[in-house]
Protein backbone atom coordinates (compact mmCIF):
# COMPACT_ATOMS: atom_id res chain seq x y z
CA UNK A 1 0.00 0.00 0.00
CA UNK A 2 1.36 3.37 -0.99
CA UNK A 3 1.61 6.08 1.67
CA UNK A 4 -0.91 8.08 -0.28
CA UNK A 5 -3.48 5.30 -0.19
CA UNK A 6 -2.79 4.82 3.50
CA UNK A 7 -3.41 8.51 4.16
CA UNK A 8 -6.71 8.32 2.31
CA UNK A 9 -7.68 5.27 4.31
CA UNK A 10 -6.88 7.00 7.55
CA UNK A 11 -8.85 10.07 6.56
CA UNK A 12 -11.83 7.96 5.55
CA UNK A 13 -11.69 5.97 8.76
CA UNK A 14 -11.52 9.12 10.87
CA UNK A 15 -14.37 10.69 8.89
CA UNK A 16 -16.57 7.62 9.30
CA UNK A 17 -15.84 7.65 13.01
CA UNK A 18 -16.87 11.30 13.11
CA UNK A 19 -20.09 10.43 11.30
CA UNK A 20 -20.86 7.65 13.75
CA UNK A 21 -20.06 9.88 16.70
CA UNK A 22 -22.22 12.68 15.35
CA UNK A 23 -25.08 10.31 14.61
CA UNK A 24 -24.99 8.88 18.13
CA UNK A 25 -24.86 12.39 19.59
CA UNK A 26 -27.81 13.47 17.45
CA UNK A 27 -29.73 10.39 18.53
CA UNK A 28 -29.16 10.32 22.29
CA UNK A 29 -28.33 13.90 23.25
CA UNK A 30 -30.95 15.63 25.34
CA UNK A 31 -30.32 19.19 24.23
CA UNK A 32 -31.78 20.38 20.95
CA UNK A 33 -28.72 22.44 20.06
CA UNK A 34 -26.40 19.54 20.86
CA UNK A 35 -28.49 17.34 18.64
CA UNK A 36 -28.11 19.83 15.86
CA UNK A 37 -24.36 19.94 16.42
CA UNK A 38 -24.29 16.15 16.27
CA UNK A 39 -26.11 16.26 12.97
CA UNK A 40 -23.65 18.76 11.54
CA UNK A 41 -20.74 16.62 12.74
CA UNK A 42 -22.25 13.53 11.17
CA UNK A 43 -22.83 15.33 7.89
CA UNK A 44 -19.34 16.81 7.92
CA UNK A 45 -17.82 13.39 8.54
CA UNK A 46 -19.86 11.90 5.73
CA UNK A 47 -18.80 14.65 3.37
CA UNK A 48 -15.12 14.36 4.25
CA UNK A 49 -15.25 10.61 3.74
CA UNK A 50 -17.05 11.00 0.43
CA UNK A 51 -14.59 13.63 -0.72
CA UNK A 52 -11.61 11.51 0.28
CA UNK A 53 -13.10 8.60 -1.65
CA UNK A 54 -13.32 10.79 -4.73
CA UNK A 55 -17.05 11.37 -4.89
CA UNK A 56 -18.23 13.79 -7.58
CA UNK A 57 -18.70 17.43 -6.71
CA UNK A 58 -22.45 17.20 -7.21
CA UNK A 59 -22.79 14.94 -4.19
CA UNK A 60 -20.72 17.23 -2.02
CA UNK A 61 -22.56 20.31 -3.20
CA UNK A 62 -25.88 18.65 -2.51
CA UNK A 63 -24.73 17.63 0.93
CA UNK A 64 -23.61 21.17 1.79
CA UNK A 65 -26.99 22.53 0.75
CA UNK A 66 -28.71 19.96 2.91
CA UNK A 67 -26.57 20.83 5.92
CA UNK A 68 -27.48 24.48 5.56
CA UNK A 69 -31.18 23.73 5.22
CA UNK A 70 -31.14 21.33 8.16
CA UNK A 71 -29.33 23.79 10.40
CA UNK A 72 -31.73 26.56 9.45
CA UNK A 73 -34.73 24.38 10.17
CA UNK A 74 -33.17 23.11 13.40
CA UNK A 75 -32.40 26.57 14.74
CA UNK A 76 -35.89 27.76 13.93
CA UNK A 77 -37.26 24.72 15.69
CA UNK A 78 -35.09 25.30 18.73
CA UNK A 79 -36.32 28.89 18.95
CA UNK A 80 -39.94 27.75 18.73
CA UNK A 81 -39.30 25.10 21.39
CA UNK A 82 -37.81 27.68 23.69
CA UNK A 83 -40.86 29.87 23.14
CA UNK A 84 -43.38 27.10 23.66
CA UNK A 85 -41.79 25.17 26.54
CA UNK A 86 -39.23 27.55 27.94
CA UNK A 87 -36.71 24.75 27.53
CA UNK A 88 -34.80 22.87 24.86
CA UNK A 89 -33.80 19.83 26.91
CA UNK A 90 -35.53 16.69 25.65
CA UNK A 91 -36.31 15.24 29.12
CA UNK A 92 -38.03 18.47 30.11
CA UNK A 93 -40.00 18.53 26.88
CA UNK A 94 -41.12 14.93 27.31
CA UNK A 95 -42.10 15.64 30.90
CA UNK A 96 -44.20 18.61 29.80
CA UNK A 97 -45.81 16.51 27.05
CA UNK A 98 -46.76 13.81 29.52
CA UNK A 99 -48.34 16.40 31.76
CA UNK A 100 -50.28 17.85 28.83
CA UNK A 101 -51.54 14.41 27.85
CA UNK A 102 -52.51 13.52 31.42
CA UNK A 103 -54.38 16.78 31.96
CA UNK A 104 -56.27 16.23 28.70
CA UNK A 105 -57.30 12.74 29.63
CA UNK A 106 -58.71 13.66 33.03
CA UNK A 107 -60.33 17.07 32.66
Amino acid sequence: MTPEALTIRLIVAAAIALTAFGAVAAWVSGNAIKRLAGLVAAMAGAMVAAAALGAPDALLGGAVAIVFATVAAGVALAVRLQEAYGAIEAPELDQADRQDEASERAP
Binding site: I16, T19, G22, A23, A26, W27, A32, R35, G38, L39, A42, M43, G45, A46, M47, A49, A50, A51, L53, G54, A55, P56, A58, L59, G62, A63, A65, I66, A69, T70, A73, G74, A76, L77, A78, R80, L81, A84, Y85, A90, L93, D94, A96, D97, D100, E101
Partner: protein, 485 residues
Protein backbone atom coordinates in the same frame (compact mmCIF):
# COMPACT_ATOMS: atom_id res chain seq x y z
CA UNK B 1 -51.43 24.22 -31.92
CA UNK B 2 -52.97 22.83 -28.75
CA UNK B 3 -52.15 19.31 -29.85
CA UNK B 4 -48.56 20.32 -30.37
CA UNK B 5 -48.41 21.90 -26.91
CA UNK B 6 -49.95 18.81 -25.41
CA UNK B 7 -47.38 16.65 -27.14
CA UNK B 8 -44.63 18.87 -25.86
CA UNK B 9 -46.09 18.59 -22.37
CA UNK B 10 -46.26 14.83 -22.57
CA UNK B 11 -42.65 14.68 -23.69
CA UNK B 12 -41.68 16.50 -20.54
CA UNK B 13 -44.13 14.74 -18.26
CA UNK B 14 -41.61 13.83 -15.54
CA UNK B 15 -40.37 17.40 -15.26
CA UNK B 16 -43.87 18.83 -15.42
CA UNK B 17 -45.32 16.55 -12.77
CA UNK B 18 -42.61 17.86 -10.47
CA UNK B 19 -42.55 21.48 -11.42
CA UNK B 20 -46.32 21.96 -11.28
CA UNK B 21 -46.16 20.97 -7.62
CA UNK B 22 -43.27 23.34 -6.86
CA UNK B 23 -44.83 26.20 -8.79
CA UNK B 24 -48.15 25.43 -7.14
CA UNK B 25 -46.46 25.68 -3.77
CA UNK B 26 -45.02 29.09 -4.66
CA UNK B 27 -48.36 30.34 -5.94
CA UNK B 28 -50.19 28.99 -2.92
CA UNK B 29 -48.00 31.12 -0.66
CA UNK B 30 -48.70 34.10 -2.83
CA UNK B 31 -52.44 33.39 -2.78
CA UNK B 32 -54.61 35.72 -0.71
CA UNK B 33 -56.34 33.74 2.02
CA UNK B 34 -56.65 30.05 2.76
CA UNK B 35 -59.44 29.30 0.30
CA UNK B 36 -57.70 30.69 -2.75
CA UNK B 37 -54.42 29.05 -1.77
CA UNK B 38 -56.26 25.81 -1.35
CA UNK B 39 -57.74 26.04 -4.84
CA UNK B 40 -54.32 26.78 -6.29
CA UNK B 41 -52.77 23.88 -4.41
CA UNK B 42 -55.52 21.54 -5.51
CA UNK B 43 -55.17 22.62 -9.14
CA UNK B 44 -51.42 22.06 -9.00
CA UNK B 45 -51.83 18.64 -7.42
CA UNK B 46 -54.43 17.67 -10.01
CA UNK B 47 -52.23 18.79 -12.88
CA UNK B 48 -49.27 16.93 -11.46
CA UNK B 49 -51.36 13.79 -10.99
CA UNK B 50 -52.59 14.07 -14.57
CA UNK B 51 -49.05 14.28 -15.94
CA UNK B 52 -47.76 11.51 -13.71
CA UNK B 53 -50.59 9.10 -14.42
CA UNK B 54 -50.50 9.81 -18.14
CA UNK B 55 -46.80 9.06 -18.14
CA UNK B 56 -47.28 5.91 -16.09
CA UNK B 57 -50.01 4.73 -18.44
CA UNK B 58 -47.83 5.25 -21.47
CA UNK B 59 -44.82 3.66 -19.87
CA UNK B 60 -46.65 0.66 -18.47
CA UNK B 61 -49.15 -0.13 -21.22
CA UNK B 62 -47.21 0.65 -24.40
CA UNK B 63 -43.76 0.23 -22.95
CA UNK B 64 -43.08 3.64 -24.46
CA UNK B 65 -39.79 4.92 -23.13
CA UNK B 66 -40.11 8.49 -21.95
CA UNK B 67 -36.95 10.22 -23.02
CA UNK B 68 -36.66 13.82 -22.10
CA UNK B 69 -34.11 16.47 -22.76
CA UNK B 70 -33.68 16.74 -19.03
CA UNK B 71 -32.95 13.01 -19.18
CA UNK B 72 -29.64 13.70 -17.54
CA UNK B 73 -31.41 14.36 -14.23
CA UNK B 74 -34.72 12.51 -14.50
CA UNK B 75 -35.14 8.89 -15.41
CA UNK B 76 -38.63 7.50 -14.97
CA UNK B 77 -38.52 3.71 -14.75
CA UNK B 78 -41.37 1.29 -14.09
CA UNK B 79 -41.36 1.54 -10.31
CA UNK B 80 -40.80 5.28 -10.42
CA UNK B 81 -43.68 5.82 -12.82
CA UNK B 82 -46.06 3.54 -10.92
CA UNK B 83 -45.22 4.87 -7.48
CA UNK B 84 -44.97 8.44 -8.78
CA UNK B 85 -48.48 8.26 -10.17
CA UNK B 86 -49.69 6.68 -6.94
CA UNK B 87 -48.04 9.38 -4.88
CA UNK B 88 -49.38 12.17 -7.09
CA UNK B 89 -52.87 10.73 -6.67
CA UNK B 90 -52.37 10.51 -2.93
CA UNK B 91 -51.20 14.13 -2.95
CA UNK B 92 -54.43 15.22 -4.65
CA UNK B 93 -56.51 13.47 -2.02
CA UNK B 94 -54.30 14.78 0.79
CA UNK B 95 -54.69 18.37 -0.42
CA UNK B 96 -58.44 17.86 -0.70
CA UNK B 97 -58.60 16.44 2.80
CA UNK B 98 -56.42 19.28 4.10
CA UNK B 99 -59.14 21.66 2.98
CA UNK B 100 -61.32 20.49 5.84
CA UNK B 101 -58.60 21.15 8.41
CA UNK B 102 -57.28 24.53 7.32
CA UNK B 103 -59.11 26.02 10.27
CA UNK B 104 -56.41 24.48 12.46
CA UNK B 105 -54.05 27.17 11.23
CA UNK B 106 -53.98 30.89 11.59
CA UNK B 107 -55.22 32.67 8.53
CA UNK B 108 -51.75 33.66 7.38
CA UNK B 109 -50.20 30.28 8.11
CA UNK B 110 -52.59 28.16 6.07
CA UNK B 111 -51.03 28.94 2.65
CA UNK B 112 -47.60 27.97 4.00
CA UNK B 113 -48.96 24.68 5.27
CA UNK B 114 -50.42 23.92 1.86
CA UNK B 115 -47.16 24.84 0.17
CA UNK B 116 -45.21 22.54 2.49
CA UNK B 117 -47.68 19.73 1.77
CA UNK B 118 -47.11 20.18 -1.95
CA UNK B 119 -43.34 20.34 -1.45
CA UNK B 120 -43.42 17.11 0.51
CA UNK B 121 -45.19 15.39 -2.38
CA UNK B 122 -42.88 17.01 -4.92
CA UNK B 123 -39.82 15.83 -3.03
CA UNK B 124 -40.86 12.21 -2.91
CA UNK B 125 -41.99 12.21 -6.52
CA UNK B 126 -38.68 13.75 -7.46
CA UNK B 127 -36.80 11.04 -5.59
CA UNK B 128 -38.81 8.46 -7.52
CA UNK B 129 -37.78 9.97 -10.86
CA UNK B 130 -34.24 11.09 -10.16
CA UNK B 131 -31.57 9.50 -12.27
CA UNK B 132 -28.68 9.46 -9.82
CA UNK B 133 -28.17 9.24 -6.09
CA UNK B 134 -27.46 12.95 -5.75
CA UNK B 135 -30.86 13.74 -7.17
CA UNK B 136 -32.46 11.20 -4.86
CA UNK B 137 -30.64 12.69 -1.88
CA UNK B 138 -31.67 16.27 -2.56
CA UNK B 139 -35.27 15.32 -3.36
CA UNK B 140 -35.63 13.16 -0.25
CA UNK B 141 -34.21 15.86 2.01
CA UNK B 142 -36.50 18.48 0.47
CA UNK B 143 -39.51 16.31 1.18
CA UNK B 144 -38.29 15.56 4.66
CA UNK B 145 -37.58 19.14 5.69
CA UNK B 146 -40.92 20.23 4.25
CA UNK B 147 -42.76 17.67 6.33
CA UNK B 148 -40.75 18.60 9.43
CA UNK B 149 -41.86 22.16 8.88
CA UNK B 150 -45.44 21.06 8.46
CA UNK B 151 -45.33 19.08 11.70
CA UNK B 152 -43.83 22.03 13.53
CA UNK B 153 -46.74 24.20 12.37
CA UNK B 154 -49.23 22.21 14.44
CA UNK B 155 -51.01 24.13 17.16
CA UNK B 156 -49.99 21.73 19.93
CA UNK B 157 -46.56 22.34 21.31
CA UNK B 158 -45.93 18.60 21.62
CA UNK B 159 -45.75 18.52 17.84
CA UNK B 160 -42.60 20.68 18.06
CA UNK B 161 -40.99 18.01 20.16
CA UNK B 162 -41.98 15.47 17.54
CA UNK B 163 -40.58 17.65 14.78
CA UNK B 164 -37.25 17.82 16.61
CA UNK B 165 -37.07 14.05 16.70
CA UNK B 166 -38.00 13.88 13.04
CA UNK B 167 -35.26 16.33 12.21
CA UNK B 168 -32.72 14.32 14.19
CA UNK B 169 -33.66 10.99 12.66
CA UNK B 170 -33.83 12.44 9.16
CA UNK B 171 -30.50 14.23 9.53
CA UNK B 172 -28.78 11.05 10.64
CA UNK B 173 -30.40 9.34 7.68
CA UNK B 174 -29.11 12.06 5.40
CA UNK B 175 -25.55 11.67 6.69
CA UNK B 176 -25.78 7.91 6.20
CA UNK B 177 -27.01 8.47 2.68
CA UNK B 178 -24.12 10.80 1.81
CA UNK B 179 -21.56 8.44 3.27
CA UNK B 180 -23.20 5.48 1.56
CA UNK B 181 -23.29 7.26 -1.78
CA UNK B 182 -19.59 8.08 -1.42
CA UNK B 183 -18.74 4.48 -0.64
CA UNK B 184 -20.93 3.21 -3.45
CA UNK B 185 -19.23 5.57 -5.85
CA UNK B 186 -15.88 4.38 -4.61
CA UNK B 187 -16.85 0.73 -4.99
CA UNK B 188 -18.95 0.71 -8.12
CA UNK B 189 -17.60 3.78 -9.81
CA UNK B 190 -20.93 5.46 -10.46
CA UNK B 191 -23.77 7.34 -8.84
CA UNK B 192 -26.14 6.83 -11.75
CA UNK B 193 -28.72 4.26 -10.73
CA UNK B 194 -28.74 2.27 -13.98
CA UNK B 195 -24.95 2.49 -14.11
CA UNK B 196 -24.61 1.14 -10.55
CA UNK B 197 -26.74 -1.82 -11.48
CA UNK B 198 -24.64 -2.53 -14.54
CA UNK B 199 -21.28 -1.68 -12.98
CA UNK B 200 -18.47 -4.10 -12.63
CA UNK B 201 -17.80 -3.76 -8.92
CA UNK B 202 -14.15 -3.67 -8.00
CA UNK B 203 -14.36 -3.08 -4.30
CA UNK B 204 -17.26 -5.21 -3.18
CA UNK B 205 -16.92 -4.40 0.54
CA UNK B 206 -17.11 -0.66 0.10
CA UNK B 207 -19.98 -0.99 -2.35
CA UNK B 208 -21.92 -3.32 -0.08
CA UNK B 209 -21.47 -1.03 2.91
CA UNK B 210 -22.45 1.93 0.76
CA UNK B 211 -25.59 0.23 -0.55
CA UNK B 212 -26.59 -0.72 2.97
CA UNK B 213 -26.05 2.81 4.28
CA UNK B 214 -28.00 4.37 1.40
CA UNK B 215 -30.97 2.11 2.03
CA UNK B 216 -30.71 2.60 5.78
CA UNK B 217 -30.67 6.35 5.29
CA UNK B 218 -34.02 6.22 3.54
CA UNK B 219 -35.35 3.52 5.88
CA UNK B 220 -34.86 5.92 8.81
CA UNK B 221 -37.24 8.31 7.12
CA UNK B 222 -39.68 5.57 6.23
CA UNK B 223 -40.00 4.79 9.92
CA UNK B 224 -39.13 1.17 9.33
CA UNK B 225 -38.81 -0.66 12.64
CA UNK B 226 -36.64 -0.58 14.69
CA UNK B 227 -35.75 2.88 13.34
CA UNK B 228 -39.14 4.43 13.97
CA UNK B 229 -38.76 5.90 17.42
CA UNK B 230 -39.73 9.34 16.12
CA UNK B 231 -42.97 8.18 14.57
CA UNK B 232 -45.11 7.64 17.64
CA UNK B 233 -44.06 11.00 19.05
CA UNK B 234 -44.99 12.78 15.85
CA UNK B 235 -48.22 11.04 14.89
CA UNK B 236 -49.70 11.20 18.37
CA UNK B 237 -49.75 14.98 18.62
CA UNK B 238 -49.57 16.42 15.15
CA UNK B 239 -52.61 18.04 13.53
CA UNK B 240 -54.59 16.52 10.66
CA UNK B 241 -52.62 18.00 7.78
CA UNK B 242 -49.30 17.07 9.36
CA UNK B 243 -50.57 13.55 9.94
CA UNK B 244 -51.46 13.27 6.27
CA UNK B 245 -48.01 14.48 5.27
CA UNK B 246 -46.07 12.23 7.64
CA UNK B 247 -48.33 9.20 7.88
CA UNK B 248 -49.31 8.98 4.23
CA UNK B 249 -47.08 10.98 1.89
CA UNK B 250 -43.77 10.41 3.70
CA UNK B 251 -44.48 6.81 4.59
CA UNK B 252 -45.54 5.88 1.05
CA UNK B 253 -42.88 7.99 -0.61
CA UNK B 254 -40.00 6.69 1.47
CA UNK B 255 -41.00 3.06 1.06
CA UNK B 256 -41.45 3.57 -2.68
CA UNK B 257 -37.98 5.11 -2.90
CA UNK B 258 -36.57 2.10 -1.05
CA UNK B 259 -38.30 -0.21 -3.51
CA UNK B 260 -36.86 1.69 -6.43
CA UNK B 261 -33.33 1.89 -5.05
CA UNK B 262 -33.43 -1.76 -4.07
CA UNK B 263 -34.50 -2.72 -7.56
CA UNK B 264 -31.24 -1.20 -8.82
CA UNK B 265 -29.04 -2.52 -6.04
CA UNK B 266 -30.37 -6.08 -5.73
CA UNK B 267 -29.35 -7.42 -9.15
CA UNK B 268 -25.69 -6.64 -8.41
CA UNK B 269 -23.71 -9.84 -8.14
CA UNK B 270 -21.25 -8.26 -5.75
CA UNK B 271 -23.58 -7.15 -2.98
CA UNK B 272 -27.13 -7.97 -4.06
CA UNK B 273 -27.48 -10.84 -1.64
CA UNK B 274 -26.36 -8.77 1.32
CA UNK B 275 -28.90 -6.08 0.42
CA UNK B 276 -31.58 -8.74 0.18
CA UNK B 277 -30.78 -10.09 3.63
CA UNK B 278 -30.71 -6.61 5.14
CA UNK B 279 -34.08 -5.76 3.61
CA UNK B 280 -35.56 -9.05 4.75
CA UNK B 281 -34.39 -8.50 8.33
CA UNK B 282 -35.71 -4.95 8.41
CA UNK B 283 -38.96 -6.08 6.82
CA UNK B 284 -39.51 -8.97 9.19
CA UNK B 285 -38.73 -6.78 12.20
CA UNK B 286 -41.12 -4.10 10.96
CA UNK B 287 -43.95 -6.54 10.40
CA UNK B 288 -43.66 -7.96 13.90
CA UNK B 289 -42.82 -4.80 15.85
CA UNK B 290 -45.32 -2.64 13.98
CA UNK B 291 -48.11 -5.16 14.55
CA UNK B 292 -47.38 -5.49 18.25
CA UNK B 293 -47.22 -1.74 18.75
CA UNK B 294 -50.44 -1.24 16.80
CA UNK B 295 -52.20 -3.69 19.09
CA UNK B 296 -50.96 -1.75 22.10
CA UNK B 297 -51.72 1.81 21.02
CA UNK B 298 -54.65 3.92 22.16
CA UNK B 299 -54.41 6.74 19.69
CA UNK B 300 -55.99 6.20 16.28
CA UNK B 301 -53.25 8.00 14.36
CA UNK B 302 -50.48 6.25 16.21
CA UNK B 303 -52.20 2.93 15.66
CA UNK B 304 -52.47 3.65 11.96
CA UNK B 305 -48.83 4.64 11.89
CA UNK B 306 -47.71 1.43 13.55
CA UNK B 307 -49.98 -0.65 11.34
CA UNK B 308 -48.39 1.20 8.46
CA UNK B 309 -44.97 0.10 9.70
CA UNK B 310 -46.20 -3.47 9.53
CA UNK B 311 -47.41 -2.85 5.98
CA UNK B 312 -44.11 -1.25 5.08
CA UNK B 313 -42.36 -4.31 6.47
CA UNK B 314 -44.46 -6.42 4.12
CA UNK B 315 -43.32 -4.28 1.21
CA UNK B 316 -39.67 -4.71 2.21
CA UNK B 317 -40.11 -8.47 2.47
CA UNK B 318 -41.54 -8.51 -1.06
CA UNK B 319 -38.64 -6.46 -2.38
CA UNK B 320 -36.12 -8.65 -0.60
CA UNK B 321 -37.27 -11.55 -2.77
CA UNK B 322 -35.43 -9.72 -5.59
CA UNK B 323 -37.68 -11.02 -8.33
CA UNK B 324 -40.14 -9.27 -10.66
CA UNK B 325 -42.94 -11.08 -8.84
CA UNK B 326 -41.60 -9.64 -5.59
CA UNK B 327 -41.43 -6.08 -6.96
CA UNK B 328 -44.97 -6.40 -8.32
CA UNK B 329 -46.21 -7.68 -4.96
CA UNK B 330 -44.43 -4.76 -3.29
CA UNK B 331 -46.21 -2.26 -5.51
CA UNK B 332 -49.58 -3.89 -4.85
CA UNK B 333 -48.91 -3.71 -1.11
CA UNK B 334 -47.80 -0.12 -1.46
CA UNK B 335 -51.11 0.74 -3.11
CA UNK B 336 -53.00 -1.09 -0.37
CA UNK B 337 -51.02 0.77 2.26
CA UNK B 338 -51.75 4.12 0.61
CA UNK B 339 -55.46 3.42 0.40
CA UNK B 340 -55.79 2.25 3.97
CA UNK B 341 -53.68 5.07 5.38
CA UNK B 342 -55.63 7.71 3.47
CA UNK B 343 -58.96 6.25 4.55
CA UNK B 344 -57.91 6.10 8.20
CA UNK B 345 -56.12 9.45 8.47
CA UNK B 346 -58.77 11.14 6.34
CA UNK B 347 -61.57 9.55 8.35
CA UNK B 348 -59.88 10.53 11.59
CA UNK B 349 -59.55 14.12 10.37
CA UNK B 350 -63.14 14.33 9.16
CA UNK B 351 -64.52 12.70 12.30
CA UNK B 352 -62.35 14.73 14.64
CA UNK B 353 -60.98 11.54 16.17
CA UNK B 354 -57.79 11.31 18.20
CA UNK B 355 -57.95 8.62 20.83
CA UNK B 356 -59.76 5.36 20.33
CA UNK B 357 -62.38 6.33 22.91
CA UNK B 358 -63.63 9.12 20.67
CA UNK B 359 -64.44 6.46 18.08
CA UNK B 360 -67.26 5.05 20.19
CA UNK B 361 -70.44 5.06 18.19
CA UNK B 362 -68.90 7.10 15.37
CA UNK B 363 -70.59 4.78 12.90
CA UNK B 364 -73.90 6.28 13.95
CA UNK B 365 -72.79 9.86 14.54
CA UNK B 366 -70.77 10.29 11.37
CA UNK B 367 -71.64 7.44 9.02
CA UNK B 368 -69.32 8.50 6.22
CA UNK B 369 -66.23 9.00 8.36
CA UNK B 370 -67.10 5.76 10.13
CA UNK B 371 -67.38 3.91 6.83
CA UNK B 372 -64.00 5.24 5.72
CA UNK B 373 -62.31 4.20 8.96
CA UNK B 374 -64.02 0.84 8.69
CA UNK B 375 -62.79 0.32 5.13
CA UNK B 376 -59.27 1.26 6.13
CA UNK B 377 -59.35 -1.02 9.16
CA UNK B 378 -60.74 -3.93 7.17
CA UNK B 379 -58.01 -3.53 4.60
CA UNK B 380 -55.31 -3.29 7.28
CA UNK B 381 -56.69 -6.50 8.75
CA UNK B 382 -56.27 -8.10 5.37
CA UNK B 383 -59.90 -9.18 5.17
CA UNK B 384 -60.78 -10.89 1.90
CA UNK B 385 -62.04 -8.77 -1.00
CA UNK B 386 -59.96 -5.80 0.06
CA UNK B 387 -56.74 -4.47 -1.33
CA UNK B 388 -54.93 -5.41 1.88
CA UNK B 389 -55.87 -9.03 1.39
CA UNK B 390 -54.60 -8.96 -2.16
CA UNK B 391 -51.27 -7.50 -1.09
CA UNK B 392 -50.74 -10.07 1.65
CA UNK B 393 -51.84 -12.89 -0.61
CA UNK B 394 -49.31 -11.88 -3.24
CA UNK B 395 -46.58 -11.65 -0.61
CA UNK B 396 -47.34 -15.02 0.94
CA UNK B 397 -47.59 -16.58 -2.49
CA UNK B 398 -44.25 -15.11 -3.57
CA UNK B 399 -42.69 -16.03 -0.21
CA UNK B 400 -43.92 -19.62 -0.37
CA UNK B 401 -42.74 -19.84 -3.96
CA UNK B 402 -39.24 -18.79 -2.88
CA UNK B 403 -39.30 -21.03 0.18
CA UNK B 404 -39.34 -18.08 2.60
CA UNK B 405 -41.62 -19.71 5.13
CA UNK B 406 -40.73 -17.33 7.91
CA UNK B 407 -41.79 -14.40 5.74
CA UNK B 408 -45.14 -16.01 5.11
CA UNK B 409 -45.39 -16.67 8.84
CA UNK B 410 -44.60 -13.04 9.66
CA UNK B 411 -47.32 -11.85 7.32
CA UNK B 412 -49.84 -14.25 8.82
CA UNK B 413 -48.84 -12.93 12.23
CA UNK B 414 -49.47 -9.41 10.97
CA UNK B 415 -52.91 -10.47 9.77
CA UNK B 416 -53.75 -11.97 13.14
CA UNK B 417 -52.60 -8.83 14.91
CA UNK B 418 -54.67 -6.92 12.38
CA UNK B 419 -57.73 -8.87 13.44
CA UNK B 420 -57.17 -7.56 16.95
CA UNK B 421 -56.51 -3.91 16.29
CA UNK B 422 -58.84 -3.66 13.30
CA UNK B 423 -61.54 -5.58 15.12
CA UNK B 424 -61.20 -3.24 18.07
CA UNK B 425 -61.74 -0.25 15.81
CA UNK B 426 -64.82 -1.76 14.23
CA UNK B 427 -66.22 -2.77 17.58
CA UNK B 428 -65.88 0.80 18.81
CA UNK B 429 -67.36 2.20 15.63
CA UNK B 430 -70.48 0.11 15.53
CA UNK B 431 -71.00 -1.77 18.77
CA UNK B 432 -70.53 0.93 21.38
CA UNK B 433 -72.43 3.96 22.36
CA UNK B 434 -70.80 7.34 22.44
CA UNK B 435 -69.64 8.11 25.97
CA UNK B 436 -70.11 11.86 25.79
CA UNK B 437 -71.43 14.45 23.44
CA UNK B 438 -69.68 14.44 20.11
CA UNK B 439 -66.67 16.57 20.91
CA UNK B 440 -65.32 17.17 17.43
CA UNK B 441 -68.50 18.77 16.09
CA UNK B 442 -67.50 21.44 13.66
CA UNK B 443 -68.28 22.62 10.23
CA UNK B 444 -66.66 20.15 7.88
CA UNK B 445 -66.88 21.02 4.22
CA UNK B 446 -69.05 18.38 2.76
CA UNK B 447 -66.90 17.53 -0.22
CA UNK B 448 -63.86 17.34 1.99
CA UNK B 449 -65.22 13.90 2.74
CA UNK B 450 -64.53 12.96 -0.87
CA UNK B 451 -60.87 11.94 -0.52
CA UNK B 452 -61.28 9.38 2.20
CA UNK B 453 -64.41 8.02 0.55
CA UNK B 454 -62.48 7.75 -2.70
CA UNK B 455 -59.72 5.96 -0.83
CA UNK B 456 -62.16 3.51 0.75
CA UNK B 457 -63.80 2.86 -2.60
CA UNK B 458 -60.38 2.19 -4.08
CA UNK B 459 -59.50 -0.12 -1.21
CA UNK B 460 -62.64 -2.18 -1.66
CA UNK B 461 -63.07 -1.81 -5.41
CA UNK B 462 -59.54 -2.83 -6.29
CA UNK B 463 -59.85 -5.68 -3.82
CA UNK B 464 -62.84 -7.05 -5.72
CA UNK B 465 -61.59 -6.40 -9.24
CA UNK B 466 -57.82 -6.01 -9.13
CA UNK B 467 -56.97 -7.10 -12.67
CA UNK B 468 -55.89 -3.62 -13.78
CA UNK B 469 -53.78 -2.97 -10.71
CA UNK B 470 -52.11 -6.36 -10.93
CA UNK B 471 -51.34 -5.84 -14.60
CA UNK B 472 -49.90 -2.38 -13.93
CA UNK B 473 -47.76 -3.65 -11.05
CA UNK B 474 -46.53 -6.56 -13.15
CA UNK B 475 -45.69 -4.22 -16.01
CA UNK B 476 -43.86 -1.85 -13.67
CA UNK B 477 -41.87 -4.70 -12.14
CA UNK B 478 -41.03 -6.14 -15.55
CA UNK B 479 -40.01 -2.70 -16.78
CA UNK B 480 -37.56 -2.02 -13.98
CA UNK B 481 -36.22 -5.56 -14.08
CA UNK B 482 -35.73 -5.15 -17.82
CA UNK B 483 -34.09 -1.73 -17.63
CA UNK B 484 -31.66 -2.98 -15.00
CA UNK B 485 -30.62 -5.95 -17.07
Amino acid sequence: MIAALLDLARTHAPLLSLSTLVIGAALAIAGAGPRLSWFIALAAALASAAFASDMALRLLTDGEIVLTIEGAALFPDGVGAFAGALLAGVAVLAVMAAGASLGDYERRAAPFALALLLLTAAGWIGALMARDLVGVLIAVETAWLASVGLVAMSAQRAALNGALRMLGAGGVGGAMFVLGAGLLHHGAGALDLPAIAAAHVERADAAALGAGLVLLGVALKAGVAPLHEWMGAVLGRVNAVGALAVGVLCAIGAIAVIVRLAAYLLPSLAFGEGVSIALAVLGGASVVIGSVQAVGSHNLRRMTGYAGIAQAGGVLLCVALASPAGYAAALVQLTAFAGAALALFGGAAAGGVQTLETLDGLGRRAPLAGAAIMAGAVSLMGAPLTLGFLGRWRLVEAGVGAGWWWAAGAVIFASLAGVFYGGRLIERLYFRRAGEVYAGARDVWRWAMAPMLAASIVVIGLGVAPAGLLAAADAAAAHIAGSVR
